[in-house]
Symmetry: C2
Subunit: 335 residues, 2 copies
């Protein structure tokens, strides 16, 4: 029960291996009839080309590596979906390298897999290009950044400043006082990121432009309990300072908004009536709870990053390209 090889396919289809190879790499110069015969043989034998042999033969391995921080947050799940969809379409496999901690990074740097296996590399959130270059652990291979940007390489990133600005512009449409809840800057010192700083600066600029002050802002860890406490703190302030119009609270992540909704509910406050809430992320449950929030085209960003890399793999030479993605406001019941 050996795995079938290109030889087997050629024999079965009654053609030469060269022809099989051509249909595999859909080379144009193959007669339609021949192609179909080969395809049939491939299907019959359940043949899959051996990527290692492909790689050795001088070509490519049709796999790319993706390095990203901790998985399991919705953002990275969606990002991975976007990337994988695009790569799969182009018949590329993806190898995942989660950067759980520093030692793992070291391990990857010395890894054969990173150095050899992949035809290209996508790095999410953290720009490690310089690090990799210094270590010269890998033959320079096409690289693309996603959810991060650098002038040196292709990148696809989310414009969190714009996201914050959109939230701010929506917030000031109502007369009440404005509050905000932020997330503490990233946990891991090794890989600083600045999404929340960006959201904040966009938000503040919008308020500023409207001549509106920010009443109070609180910062919370990215965890449900901390969020609930922060929500309570905000509502304490808001209720103490209550003027006529309902206040607006911008929660810079839906996790925070969820806690705020819970806390408001516990206090008998009706979101959308007694207070306005604007979230950020548009998590799956947001629609059900009527949360007005910012939707990020995360899959789209992943897809675009993959496309950028694929174009390089197909030989594109040119200056680094930057693709910016904008969140958009989804207005629902809470604001």
């Amino acid at each position: 029960m050996r795995k079938p090889t290109i030889q087997d396919v050629a024999r079965k289809a009654g053609v030469g291996v060269g022809t099989v190879s051509r249909v595999l790499n859909n080379h144009p110069a193959v007669k339609a009839a021949t192609r179909e015969g080969v395809m049939a043989a491939i299907a019959a034998l359940e043949y899959t080309p051996n990527p290692h042999a492909r790689r050795v033969a001088g070509g490519r391995s049709y796999t790319v590596s993706v390095m990203l921080p901790v998985l399991s947050t919705e953002f990275y799940t969606r990002l991975l979906s976007g990337l994988e969809a695009a790569f799969q379409e182009a018949r590329y496999d993806v190898a995942i390298f989660p950067l759980l901690d520093r030692s793992r990074l070291e391990r990857y740097l010395g890894s054969h897999t990173l150095a050899y296996q992949a035809d290209g590399l996508v790095m999410a959130t953290h720009d490690l290009t310089r690090l990799l270059r210094d270590r010269r652990t890998l033959t320079p291979q096409p690289t693309v950044l996603v959810d991060a940007h650098s002038p040196d390489v292709d990148c696809a990133f989310m414009d969190n400043v714009t996201g914050g600005r959109l939230a701010g512009e929506h917030a000031v449409k109502a007369p009440g006082a404005v509050y905000a809840m932020w997330v503490e800057t990233e946990l891991d010192q090794l890989f600083p990121a600045r999404v929340f700083e960006d959201r904040r600066s966009g938000f503040l600029s919008a308020l500023d432009r409207a001549g509106r002050p920010l009443a109070t802002e609180v910062t919370s860890a990215f965890d449900t309990l901390a969020a609930r406490n922060a929500a309570a703190a905000v509502l304490d302030r808001a209720q103490a300072e209550a003027s006529g119009a309902p206040c607006t609270v911008f929660a810079a992540a839906d996790l925070l908004a969820s806690a705020l909704l819970d806390e408001a509910h516990a206090r008998g406050l009706r979101p959308g009536v007694d207070l306005r809430v604007i979230g950020f992320d548009d998590q799956p449950w947001a629609a059900a709870r009527g949360l007005t929030t910012l939707h990020q085209p995360v899959e789209g960003m992943g897809h675009e990053a993959a496309t950028l890399l694929l174009s390089r793999l197909n030989g594109y030479r040119g200056a680094p390209r930057a693709r910016r993605f904008e969140p958009h406001l989804v207005v629902r019941d809470t604001a």
Copy 2:
């Protein structure tokens, strides 16, 4: 600046490629002097063997695949460390496949990487052997289960029943009432796991053997806020039912124990004096907070799983082996 090949090394060392290959695979039949010369050449050239070529020629790629559920919990980080350490020692690379959702599983099943790249497969927590066999997506390759068990394949697993029992035996050493906090059964229906059921059955059997009743038990989601609420519920009960002796609470996960400690503190209760707390996991912070808890040799389990797989890869044929690992109680201040 082409990457050096085995040819380059052979030339530089003044030997044949066969010899270089032998030292690479540390074949015994190489004179020490020759070996050193080759090693020197390898170092000088910064040569690294091309795993794809190895695969094509010799049949093995020196990489293994690891399929596991969501990363980012401490347990899996430690598990991965144990696995990676052992594999790295044997000069194997590891490819990680996070099973974030069902669609991703489908994707993996059709993946070249899973089918070709790996010489072996380790599956954590979920036994997907049957699924893979049915799909026959891959040439049957050596497989090992870790944190799960099955009579059909090698496995290394944690004995949670024993862990629960140890907690129970420690709990009944003191006279007060006994309470327990459990974690809701796993979120994802696709991959049911039963760690908490096991911990519970061990715990209950110990109480039973000691002729002691369980006063009250509560179940919580695996999340800090839910845990805090559950902790409050337990303490409400405990304070209402208070007898003379301090009660004992077994929190089946340190996440729960942490919330319990917080809630106790908020109520002015002194752990270790006014109530006893036993956790489970021995998370990094447990020592600092003086938490009595169960330590699991997670890295050891990972290491052993890797060792089992490596022995298969080295040709071991024999009945499936099961390696059981036991948590042990770490007694600190809280109980």
